[in-house]
């Protein structure tokens, strides 16, 4: 006897439909699972057979063959337990195979027949909507996440028995509904705020420019200046996540199994701050079955690399692809996947190994060669992708103790959102370009409208400060963003002057040490 039903799993962050076919035939009782199952799926055999017995059904004394189609795709994840169990029970004659039609079944079984939540629900739900499948039966834990997607009816069940009773029409289960509006209404609620940071006006302004134009930032300053504190508050001034962005980021978290249990969707921009001992695989993603790395977990948010120079060279160099393309493609013998990774890089470092090179009072104890070695950890091509480098001076007592009210994140965010809107309008016909920071050579010619006066200033600065051609382009892009913040079509001298300030590492005294 044969039972056929539909289920789904995911590869990378994309869902795939899986046809589960269960055949029972006469012969020595055995269980075989075919269709490229990975270890997790192979182990489902023990869970399935035991939970069928413990749910009060007798196992058929037959040869059980389970096929997972398409047979050429590797299946991973534990979500196929429920459909396999239902297939065996159905093929044993407990209910009609027709009752399984038009539905998709997902869920991991525990030995007592209860259902457990699985990973990757959101991409699967999006896939079901695309394929026009209307009904999905899955564990309670996953109901919220699945019902984020409109147009599919989600029926949550607690156990194998409940699922069977529901299929046979003996149990009524209400379609799962919850207030999606409320979920999206608290997009961008953070527990930190920029008003908590005293002083550091220049750094705050640099972050505002970075948030507006998508420019990557490098902070250079002595220990204790507030680099980390500023960085943590950076997501709060980024524009609110759009629903599409929230879904994109949630897809990654869903497949990585990182969604918080009480929250089915990521509504605030992620802030990832991996420790500097991270491996390049941990940063970029990978593994035998590729998993998203920190760069992908920071998608649509911020990747903060504290102690930038302490990261291993190879870990830093792998950042180049995502910084350039906004995605990482990971190839392994068994699969090739693409993870989105569009983030703003925020890095911080000390100016020298001891940290006090730029400190106004403290004495630096490093030798010039130590400093050179320290700075050379960051390669040219990587530095090339960081538009803004700014020095963070230590904060003075009068600034810390000041009672002055600092500007709140929300106010800054309003300006940032306005500047982003201008850019969206500008780049609406350019594929893959979202912010000023993404502009290529041809766009610079097209979109950067610089006044004669600014041109002269820039020329002067280039000669006096000995700036490179690379710095020239960066300065133009940053000035474009600053002009956007002021809603000015033309780039004025004060915009260029500010932009030059953001090229600390290009200035002479760093390099000649």
């Amino acid at each position: 006897m044969l039972a056929k039903l539909k289920s789904a799993t995911y590869i990378g962050i994309e869902g795939i439909l899986v046809d589960v076919e269960v055949d029972l035939s006469k012969g020595l009782p055995s269980f075989s699972l075919v269709g490229l199952p990975e270890t997790m799926v192979k182990e489902s055999k023990e869970r399935v057979l035991t939970s069928i017995r413990n749910s009060g059904f007798s196992l058929p004394f037959k040869k059980i063959t389970v096929n997972l189609a398409p047979a050429d795709l590797r299946k991973e994840g534990t979500g196929l337990d429920l459909p396999i169990a239902l297939g065996i029970i159905c093929a044993s004659g407990y209910f009609e195979p027709d009752l399984l039609k038009g539905k998709v079944f997902l869920g991991e079984l525990s030995l007592d027949g209860k259902l457990r939540g699985i990973k990757g629900i959101l991409p699967i739900a999006i896939l079901l909507k695309e394929k026009g499948i209307k009904e999905v039966i899955l564990p309670y834990e996953n109901a919220k996440e699945a019902s984020i997607v409109d147009g599919i009816s989600v029926y949550p069940v607690n156990s194998l028995i409940e699922a069977i009773e529901f299929i046979k029409g003996e149990r009524k289960i209400e379609k799962f509904e919850f207030d999606k509006e409320k979920l999206f209404s608290d997009l961008s609620i953070y527990d930190v705020d920029f008003s908590e940071v005293k002083g550091q006006k220049a750094a705050k302004r640099a972050l505002e420019v970075s948030a507006s134009g998508g420019h990557n930032v490098l902070f250079i300053g002595p220990p204790g200046a507030g680099k980390t504190m500023l960085a943590r508050r950076f997501p709060t001034i980024l524009p609110k996540m759009t629903i599409d962005e929230a879904l994109e980021t949630t897809k990654i978290y869903s497949c990585a199994g990182r969604l918080p249990p009480d929250k089915p969707i990521i509504t605030t921009r992620p802030f990832r701050a991996p420790h500097h001992t991270i491996s390049d695989i941990g940063l970029i993603g990978g593994g035998h079955i590729p998993k998203p790395g920190e760069v992908s977990l920071a998608h649509n948010g911020v990747l903060f690399l504290d102690e930038f120079t302490e990261f291993s060279r190879s870990a830093l160099e792998v950042l180049r692809q995502p910084l350039e393309d906004g995605f990482v493609s990971i190839g392994r013998a068994k699969s090739q996947v693409v993870f989105p990774a569009r983030f703003i890089l925020l890095a911080s470092m000390n100016p020298c190994p001891c940290g006090y090179l730029t400190h106004p009072e403290k004495e630096c104890t490093c030798t010039p060669s130590q400093i050179r070695r320290y700075l050379s950890k960051i390669s040219g091509p990587l530095l090339d992708r960081i538009d803004i480098h700014i020095e963070i001076p230590p904060i003075s007592y009068s600034e810390i103790s000041s009672k002055k009210e600092e500007e709140s994140s929300e106010k800054i965010r309003e300006r940032v959102e306005r500047a982003r809107k201008i850019q969206m309008e500008r780049f609406k016909n350019e594929k893959g370009i979202y912010f000023n920071a993404h502009m290529k050579q041809k766009h610079i010619k097209k979109y950067i409208n610089i006044s004669k006066e600014s041109e002269n200033l820039l020329k002067d600065a280039m000669e006096k400060l000995n700036l490179s051609a690379r710095a020239y382009i960066r300065i133009l892009k940053i000035s474009r963003t600053i002009a956007d913040l002021e809603e000015s079509e033309e780039i004025k001298p004060n915009h260029v002057a500010e932009a030059i300030e953001y090229r600390a590492l290009d200035r002479e005294h760093w390099i000649t040490l």
Partner: protein
């Protein structure tokens, strides 16, 4: 009582027990080159291969002594039996263990249905 006689004695007890539970006994001690099947019985249209195991005392249950190698031998022997009777893939099949523990006063019988399957 030597080992063989003892085995035969407990197999008789097992057979008696099966008959009382409405099993139809088909074969006793079916020998193949892979090993021996103690009892072959039938109930509800399912063909059942039964291994009888006995152990003195209560410390070790009879069924604990059925190891991987024994299971494999029983399964291989069952295949030979099915082939010889032209029943391969025509009948539902089950493997049971009847486990007998005894001491001087009493005998306890435990019947484990569907005790193992082909891996």
């Amino acid at each position: 009582m030597d080992k063989k006689e003892k085995g035969g004695f407990f197999e008789l007890i097992a057979e008696e027990y099966l008959k009382r539970n409405k099993y139809k006994i088909i074969e006793r001690n079916f020998y193949t080159k892979k090993g021996e099947i103690d009892i072959i019985a039938e109930k509800n249209n399912v063909l059942i291969f039964i291994e009888v195991r006995s152990k003195k005392g209560e410390d070790i249950k009879g069924y604990e002594t059925v190891d991987f190698k024994k299971k494999k031998n029983i399964i291989e022997s069952a295949k030979i039996y099915l082939e010889s009777k032209n029943l391969t893939n025509k009948k539902d099949v089950r493997f049971d263990v009847i486990s007998i523990n005894f001491n001087d006063e009493e005998i306890t019988i435990e019947h484990i249905e569907d005790a193992f399957r082909e891996e």
